[in-house]
């Protein structure tokens, strides 16, 4: 099954950085993710903005994507601090379904066609999430511009779906979902929030649209035990923060990722060792 990644550097530039580069652990995550996906599932593509493309090209990583790379342009009206994952939605908009959207810090270790090919699978995600006030507040508390109204068919009791991995079978449904998300982002009044609005646009609108259209969402892990015991995925997520500030842990993981590349994905290992930041882990 085709897969794709996205890199949008505008959120990183809001902190004042003039250039954006990936940290060693981020690079290794991406390389490992890409190598594993292309070995076990299918060719992948990278949608990246100009800064990110140039960066990937400088590292010769762009050549690793079997489906190539494509320039990603995100509308300027999207506030990158508020909607830092808008790049993913823009990439999703361009990608033809069926396909799998993959976060750059997610590694998929096995073939997932058994889930994607099921007749009852219209959409697939790694896991669903609970509706908690801190992350998924009552949407009616969002300040929206005049003229916007939540579609009546949306059921706000539907559990959000984490889109670190997102498979959508039907391209038209995908287009409708993305359009709903874009509309929400366009009509949101900026209020300094950098979590709730984004996860609503990306992870809450999706399942509500699916339920409204009677589409089935398959979740690989639907409870904590399943998440703990699964052997399909490695998702760094918040662990990246620890790696950011703890050198010991960071080096340990980088070393482990490098060893994994060397043992299992030798072609990608050669790419990794050609990168200055990663050579120390060889």
């Amino acid at each position: 099954m085709n897969g794709f990644y996205s890199l949008w550097t505008a959120p990183g530039k809001t902190t004042g950085a003039t250039t954006v580069v990936m940290q060693d652990y981020e690079l290794l995550m991406l390389l490992l993710s890409l190598a594993s996906y292309q070995k076990y599932n299918g060719p992948a593509k990278m949608y990246a903005d100009e800064t990110a493309l140039e960066y990937l090209e400088s590292l010769s990583v762009d050549n690793c994507f079997k489906r190539g790379t494509e320039l990603l342009t995100v509308p300027e009206w999207i506030e990158p601090q508020m909607f830092w994952a808008a790049g993913k939605l823009e990439a999703l908009k361009r990608e033809q379904m069926p396909s799998v959207m993959i976060d750059t810090d997610l590694i998929i270790w096995k073939n997932l066609d058994y889930a994607f090919d099921r007749d009852t699978t219209d959409i697939a995600v790694i896991h669903r999430e609970d509706i908690t006030e801190s992350t998924y507040p009552d949407p009616h508390r969002f300040k929206m511009m005049d003229g916007y109204a939540f579609p009546e068919e949306w059921d706000f009791t539907v559990r959000p779906a984490n889109t670190a991995l997102l498979f959508i079978k039907d391209n038209e449904f995908k287009n409708r979902y993305v359009e709903h998300s874009m509309e929400f982002m366009r009509k949101s009044v900026p209020d300094g929030d950098n979590l709730c609005h984004m996860v609503f646009a990306e992870q809450r609108i999706l399942p509500m649209c699916a339920v409204a259209e009677q589409m089935n969402i398959y979740a690989f892990c639907d409870n904590m035990d399943a998440l703990r015991e699964q052997k399909l995925f490695t998702h760094f997520w918040g662990h990246k923060n620890l790696l950011k500030f703890n050198l010991g842990e960071r080096m340990s993981y980088c070393r482990r990722m490098m060893i994994r590349l060397r043992n299992e994905f030798p072609d990608m290992y050669e790419v990794a060792v050609s990168i200055d930041e990663l050579r120390v882990y060889a």
Binding site: A17, I107, F236, W237, K240, F245, N246, R260, D276
Partner: protein, 451 residues
């Protein structure tokens, strides 16, 4: 605003490589103040959760700005009293690393009366101390500063750079962090990188609290006493290694630092990576890698930081992401996957994956987005509860979770990295949920042990 840290900028005629080289060879320097508060000390862990006020100019130059909290510093209670009694911020020294012009802080230490205490980031919870103030110091050592940029006025934070504080003591050759070390005594508090391709660390005494990286293609650390409190990475070929005071009854065989180690019996007080097989271990610091221990006795002393990898210890089978241990009793950090059978009393931190059968443990989650903890909640508990926790006011977690409510709803109790310090008004810690949300668990990362 005066530019005290102008010397961290790349000069006009300085190439990227030269800049990186210059920065990487810098000694650690003063770049912030650490503030201590009684409520942030855990006598169980013998550790402070430290609040740091960084010099803004310095912090802005880093590729990853440092947070105010989430740092941990280990010390006994006497030292804790000493740190607290200062009543003011204590200097924090930071060791920088540069890569293609991007600066990163990699090592931290707090200075108190000339002594340095290592500090590291683990996202531990913190209450913002009440004694934060700006201290104006005028005794700036400007060796490494661009003097012209320092206007001599008292400023909030002064940069001090005193290489004499961090020295290699008496030794031959002189001061080459990337060279070879022969004889003499060594007190290194630096990052040492590169390769060591000569002889051996022989004779004298060694006290290395920095980082040692690279490859070691020679024989043995012989004689003397060794106290390593830092990471040793790289590959080790041949020879025998002894750390601290030790007892070896077999030869070591090191394949590589992240490979496997076969030993029968050793005591170590430092960080090790790789696989450990068999024998008897007394480890006081980090352990990383995978471990296959068959039989023997295992005493984990002191407080380290991370154990990463998998442990198969006799009938014990542990898989860890990262965690630390305190005085042989507490495990803190994050645990990923695997099954856990422990006779330990407390395990605090974040947990994802695996099954748990133990006398008692706490789980929590750390949301590092604001470098303050998320929520602490009970975890799965099985087995019987006796001993340590029974003695603590009878508060412990029963099999049926019923006892947990008393702890969770009592706002007088709070958690410090999953363990409970003395009663205090830690109102900043939110009331723990009975069970952490799915998202909180997932947010810590999952499948980390699959790599």
């Amino acid at each position: 605003m005066s530019k005290v840290f102008g010397w961290l900028d790349r000069r006009k005629d300085e190439s990227l490589q030269s800049f990186d080289n210059r920065i990487n060879h810098l000694a650690a320097f003063h770049s912030g103040y650490a503030f201590f508060m009684y409520e942030n000390y855990s006598s169980d862990l013998s550790a402070f959760s430290v609040y740091v006020v960084w010099n803004g100019e310095f912090n802005r130059k880093l590729s990853q700005r440092l947070p105010d909290g989430g740092f941990m510093l280990h010390c006994d209670q006497d030292t804790a009293v000493s740190l607290l009694n200062k009543g003011e911020g204590l200097p924090v020294y930071v060791k920088l690393q540069a890569s293609k012009g991007r600066l990163r802080a990699i090592l931290f230490a707090v200075e108190n009366d000339g002594a340095l205490y290592d500090m590291y980031y683990n996202g531990c919870p913190i209450r913002k101390p009440e004694n934060i103030c700006f201290v104006s110091r005028k005794n700036v050592i400007v060796d490494a500063c661009d003097y012209d940029e320092y206007n001599g006025r008292g400023v909030s934070f002064n940069a001090s750079y005193s290489p004499a504080t961090f020295s290699f003591g008496k030794y031959s050759p002189v001061n080459d962090a990337n060279g070879s070390y022969t004889q003499g005594s060594y007190t290194a508090k630096f990052f040492n990188t590169g390769s060591y391709s000569t002889g051996s660390f022989s004779a004298g005494s060694y006290n290395i609290s920095g980082f040692l990286q690279g490859s070691y293609s020679y024989g043995s650390f012989t004689a003397g006493s060794y106290s390593f409190t830092a990471f040793m990475l790289g590959s080790y070929t041949a020879g025998s290694y002894s750390f601290g005071s030790y007892a070896f009854s077999h030869n070591w065989e090191w394949e590589y630092a992240f490979g496997s180690y076969s030993t029968y019996k050793w005591s170590a007080g430092s960080y090790f990576t790789g696989n450990f097989m068999g024998g008897q271990y007394r480890l006081e610091q980090f352990l990383q890698g995978s471990y296959r221990l068959v039989g023997g006795s295992y005493n984990f002393w002191g407080f380290g930081n991370f154990f990463a990898g998998s442990f198969n210890i006799g009938s014990y089978s542990w898989l860890f992401g990262s965690f630390g241990m305190s005085a042989g009793l507490a495990l803190t950090g994050s645990f990923v996957g695997g099954s856990y059978h422990s006779q330990m009393y407390r395990m605090a931190g974040s947990y994802s994956g695996g099954s748990y059968g133990r006398e008692y443990w706490l789980s929590g989650s750390y949301n590092n987005s604001s470098f303050v903890q998320g929520s602490f909640a009970r975890g799965f508990a099985g087995g019987s509860y006796r001993g340590f926790e029974d003695a603590r006011n009878g508060e412990f977690y029963g099999n049926d979770n019923k006892q947990g409510n008393r702890f969770i709803n009592d706002s007088n109790y709070a958690l410090c990295n999953g363990n409970r310090p003395a009663k205090s008004r830690l109102s900043f810690i939110p009331k723990a949920e009975l069970e952490p949300s799915f998202r909180l668990i997932a947010e810590m990362g999952y499948g980390l042990d699959l790599i």
